[in-house]
Each structure stands twice: as structure tokens, then as C-alpha cells.
Amino acid sequence: MSDIDKLWTLACSGDGQAFGDWAGRVERPVLLSLRIFARAIDTEGIVQETLLRMWQRSQADGPTIEGEHASLRFAVVMARNLALNMARKLRREHLVQPEHIPVDPQAPRTDPASDPLLRRIIEKCIEALSGAAKKALEARLLRGHVPDAVLANSVDMTRNTFLQNITRGRRQLADCLRQNGAHEHEAFR
């Protein structure tokens, strides 16, 4: 049984932390599967809604999905259905790029495990950022689920200045990752 399947089984027994760990492992392949919808819809909302519905399913039905990475496959199909419905609702189906649909949408790439070396490089690069850009980007990377207005206020910036500082910070971070040879890491593809 894969790590993802073990975490899913634990989540189905009501273990919320295991569900969070499962979500952390499947989020990337789910998001990647939505690349074809990137021009048509807000994929962030679809990812979150998919994960939320997977929790609801885990509690309602238990571990009824069978096969290796079955929960991930199920989540990918659910995400694509939600995305398609959203594109239709917004009348933006024409912006979906079917040429980017994987040959076998049932076989998503699984997420690589965390890489300690990559983490050290990221931490080093963030540490090297300059004042306001560092404060803003750190706030967003660590607490980006909080409204920007709240985050901006916590670092004594207006929302617009906060956003400008994040973009500055991202550019500096990208340069540093490139200089350290980390920009082509699998996690970024």
C-alpha cells in the first residue's frame, strides 16, 4: 500500500491530521491536472473544493475506493468535473485547452516526497531577501490562506504595497533559487 493510500485509510477513520497530510501529498497532482483549465477558471477554488469534498466523502463512505492511488485518481476526476462545470457556468469553455489533456487522465503523476536539500536552499534564499520584500513574501508563503488585507496589516503595509513587495520578493527568490541550481527541481515542474 502506498503512503497516499495509508493516509487516505487513516483519514477515512476520522483522522483529520492524516487527511491534511494526504491533501498535502495529492494537491500538486490535482493542480497539475487542472492546467488545461488555467485560462478559463480560478483553479485554486477548484482544488480547495475538491479536497473539501474528498474529506466529506471519506467520512460518509469510508475507504471504499480500491486500487493503488485510488483516492488520488478519484480526486483528479472530481477536480476535472468541477472545473468543467465551472468553465460552462462562466461560459469560458472555449478557453479550455483540450490539446493539453493527458493521454491517460486516470494516471496522474504522484507527488514527490519533501526534499530536505530543496528546503534548505529555499530557507537560505528567503533569509537573504531584503527587508520589506522578505516580510511580505514570508507572510504570504506561511499564512497565504489568510486574507491579504489582514496579512498586509500584520506587516504594517497597505494591501497594494504588500502585493508589490511580494512580487519583488518572488523575483529575488527565483534568482537565488536559480543561482543555487534549484529552479529546475521536480517540485517546480
Binding site: A40, L52, W55, R170
Partner: protein
Amino acid sequence: MSPDDRQEVLIEATIGAHRVLDADGLPIPPPEWWDLSPEACQMAFESRMRSRAIERELHPRGWSTSVQAVMERLHL
């Protein structure tokens, strides 16, 4: 602010994981998302993907801010 800088800020406003919910409880895009061209939406997607990878590495359990947003919605 140059047009490129303005677009960069608009894109950045859509990369955060916070989403307001509509009457049906579904996440809705930030207001800035509607001002993005399809090409800019694609750029936002790629930037968001890179950001989530970094967030996962920085979180002790590997939870990106998207996962943290869901955990908060579920009160887990």
C-alpha cells in the same frame, strides 16, 4: 507603476489561497482575477504552482496554504 508591474500585482492578488465563499459555499475568485487576460491567468497558474511547492517545503507537515485553507474550512 508600469503596465507590466500592474499586471504582476493583479496576478499576485490571485495567487493567495484565501477565497471568499458564495451563497452555495463555493470558493469564488478574487476580484482581480476577472481583470486578467487568459494569458495572464495561465501565468498566475504557473506562479501559483511554484508558490505551493515552496509553501509545502516550508510547512512542518508539508501543507501548502491551499491545504491550510481547506483544513480551516473543515475546522480540522
